[in-house]
Symmetry: D2
Subunit: 340 residues, 4 copies
């Protein structure tokens, strides 16, 4: 038997992806499947597309299954207490939620307008963007959100290499509806979503400070970003289009070069000069980055595509767990997508 | 009987919308329905959702039906010769294509990398954005493209009022698939479009110079724009998200005020501080503009939504024809949408 | 001023369509807009695609606006008491709900497993399928459901003419998601609906007895129907595919002839031998019927397409009100669809 | 190295799925990737969601790669000559096309209105529905079409067990658009497909005789089927709703029992009394069957769901190849789906 994994929050979309990925993982086995309101339901009822077998979702129990690794796919604010308990029990903890993504409380408060649950422990969490942050020795990993993942992978190397200015960055991004979670609300019905697009959280979305913070942690330079997310009528997929001013003398080659240098050894990030489509990555843990330069305005335009539930959530969490556990980074993950 | 109208290019999506709108127009009657490869086909076969009756698409004939007004919904380069003939015959000509949208040949060449068909006549065309350009005395009207319509309506008043800087403007826009026309290509199949998004024409789309040119004609100030269009999986609807740097001291009130001043008397443009959804305008000739200010970066973020086939094409053409013919601007047009 | 109309249940999908249609009606004005939980909200907030103006949804009030006609778009069981009050006040009442669609209580009970709200009054209601039932003298009209509308229009004339057997009829139908109403439930989220189809209510859907009952009322012969509805990922549109055994000697000509005879004077029903698409009728009050005969098995296969919210709900209600009020049957209604 | 596989027709949707599945197969390696008009293109260009690596599509070559097994995903009529050549070379041949699905030429001619390419060889082909036909000793396997797969799996056991009558069967089925192939035509554009449904091939679809033929081969009893396929706006997924008259005394238990008996040992077919959704099987090789009985009419209503490109094409082909090669039937195949 391999490593033992607990999944907390198994009934949501990200939780379902965690089950799917770990069920197919060669070295990790799911030993505790926990949900909140869905506790007691059969896995096959909650996720009919998975091999439910006779598994039933359990109530949260930090000790159940004696997990070597615990994945937390919980609403904001719900991770911290459970994480503390799991850490105390010796588990590697990978948090897919937002509770531990900031290194200091002030930044968290600015983003969330509330005090972080365990401010004293924020510094002990490693930011789980494994292409740009070393997570190999981490015991607590906070996986970034879907927008910050796609955006930071494309932006941070350019700022780090001095190819673009950190000021006046515009991030305009599109997400499929699973990014909004699985809850049924008037805004997530088919009638409200199909055949329509909208911007939301203009100027106020919490992923903006997270992107700025992440880039600062990685490059030492904090960018200034305007961020507008849009909801588009599709299930999965996230596309981030990033506009940044080229520094003097920088050209397309420099943009591409900075990205290629950053990801020369990365199995899941592919850099090119073609515009990626989200259908090329849906189902896989791949991030495709297409780099352009707008000559008349001296702007780098970089387009980054991921599956919001895989590289933007569950896949990245497994990738981090692999590295922190000494497994092959790619174990249980795929670079092959599903479409059409 | 009312005014007589000829529609050239009746078999495409914009052509179909022209038929729909003019069939419902109280003062204009369709007297010549012309198509190119679809000539000879029944209207009801080409557009089964319309009241085809026994109407059949005709070959192009500038004289047929002695049109008071002619609408041209043709591919790039196909309008100019026909327009010249129609003008000579005394018709009001409304061109939905790109042949006459630039006031001078040099700009046209920069956008299209070819000489305009009738360079000497470019100056005789009026730019058909009737909220911002007076078309009442025009006899030749070049209706703007869908992206320039949504974008210029939101941007030009801000530049005209000095509320935002004309430099460093970013326009990031999303369009439904009907914006790509009705032809069947590998890129427009359901398999290629559904459940995916992509950016296209990054840095090279011809609507960028058109937007810059339009704003310059309207305000006297030529902005510098980076423009990225995206294709999203829906039939209709276009959303343009515009980022522009606020000038010193400008605030949200100034942004909203400049827009409200511009459209106080406009029946089809509504200004607010809410993020519009394309489903709110699909089917109508309305443009909804939602204005925001991103305080940390001093950026105006303005979101503009239209139906690409109505306000972005056929509806705006009818609106222009109404004004230039002395009819009520709103005749035959609706502010009521269809969704869901 | 024209007739005064009250709309009860204005916040749902069918209610929104009633507002859209009556706002555009030449002889009827909306004088009372009522909703239940949405009372107090602005119409423009609830239906942003409509011309909300300064209208606000009111609490239910049978006397408000002294309506000449009242439209009820309410959940099952909610219509009866209000209808009784409105009838007493002298209004023409058009009920889009299910409370009054059965002529006798026993049939109602079989379909709904509960006693009808006002069993004594069932006989006073006219079944609002105006192509097949005379509603001109009615003061209380129960408009059929969407599946029974599309199905009965295609099936009843064939049974009435003796062209097909009333036994062993199979009705297999597809509906867009608006047919399930506007409430947000786990089953109506985009995530649950997009990219998937399902059958539901197999053998138990309440529209089966309604179809049998309707055909019996119209033809005097009660058919035996197996009915399976399916939910498909689209907003609007309903397609019913009907299989019925040809009686001895009947051929395609007889099938088409029986339908053409029934609808020779009907402005909204078109009969042909082509397979209709729902996109051809979405937005219009049209029902398209395509008739086929499967020679090897001696089966009539008839396909019927409507917009579930127009001919299947609000449009048919307006059509009934027009006839019962002595107006032109087509007033305020369109045979022109919207797609794409 | 494992078995060597050649894939002919690798550029289509089914071909892409074959590459995806065999790339992930533990015991089979792709050694020849061939396409017709797409020969010379990079695999990564044709299928950007796959791991293209440096692979390039080749021209057809029956000898290339000395295949142990050859998969043919070709248009009607194109398989036969190539298959003959491959058989001569000793390859196991698995044909996903229609050329060899009939055991005798007369049936083929009735379905296709033309003589089969190699009428003399039809008898040498095994029908590749491995749950119901023994393919373990086959060297030439003709995999059924998507509609016949879903339908025959649900229907044949009921007829075989005498639970339903073979006469008067109605099959009403829904397919995603990938079932129509990858070619760009006016009927497969997003504009023609999204937000609409239609029936097609009413009474004339070639899968009807294939279903009848398949059931006859399996049970010895030829049913009489009326079949209507519908196109619905989704990428993948196929749902077949089957109506058959219960024989005297048969009840739901008998229906379920006949199916359970048939699939007690089948790893990919699951029988229940719940209505399956296509989203539960998309991406997997699973067929879900939900059985119902309509008491009032004595009708068995059975709903069968598959992924048309997996169990309905590439997955079933791999399953057949596994069995005929002595591998584990499930090798390289999954029972885990993808949705949402």
């Amino acid at each position: 038997m391999g490593m033992k994994a607990a999944i907390f929050g198994a009934s949501g979309y990200a939780g379902g992806e965690l089950v799917r990925l770990i069920d197919g993982h060669p070295s990790i086995d799911v030993t505790h499947l926990a949900a909140n309101t869905a506790a007691g339901k059969a896995l096959g009822e909650v996720h009919p597309h998975l091999d439910g077998g006779d598994r039933v979702l359990q109530a949260f129990d930090a000790d159940a299954g004696a997990p070597d690794v615990a994945f937390l796919a919980l609403p904001h604010g719900a991770s911290a207490p459970l994480a503390a308990e799991l850490v105390a029990g010796g588990s590697l903890v990978v948090d897919l939620g937002a509770d531990h993504r900031f290194a200091d409380a002030a930044d968290y408060e600015k983003a969330y307008a509330t005090t972080p649950p365990h401010p004293d422990q924020l510094g002990e969490w490693t930011f789980g963007l494994p292409e740009l942050v070393d997570v190999s020795a981490a015991s607590r990993i906070a996986v970034p959100g879907c927008y910050p993942t796609a955006t930071t992978l494309a932006l941070a190397p350019l700022i780090g290499a001095g190819v673009v200015s950190p000021d006046g960055v515009v991030v305009d991004a599109l997400s499929g509806v699973t990014g909004a979670g699985r809850s049924a609300t008037p805004a997530t019905t088919f009638g409200a979503i199909a055949e329509s697009v909208k911007a939301y959280g203009v100027g106020t979305h919490r992923h903006r400070p997270e992107m700025e913070h992440a880039t600062a942690r990685i490059t030492g330079v904090k960018p200034s970003i305007v961020f507008t997310p849009h909801l588009v009528p599709m299930q999965r997929g996230l596309l981030s289009t990033i506009y940044a001013t080229l520094t003097d003398g920088s050209k397309l080659d420099d943009v591409v070069g900075a990205l290629e240098d950053a990801y020369a050894a990365a199995p899941f990030v592919k850099v090119g000069t073609e515009s990626p489509q989200t259908r090329w990555v849906v189902g896989s843990n791949t991030c495709l980055i297409g780099a352009f330069v707008d000559e008349p305005t001296g702007t780098a335009v970089v387009v980054s595509a991921i599956d919001n539930l895989v590289k933007g959530a569950a896949g990245q969490a497994v990738q981090c767990a692999n590295i922190a556990s000494g497994l092959d980074e790619t174990a249980g993950l795929s670079t092959v997508g599903w479409m059409p």
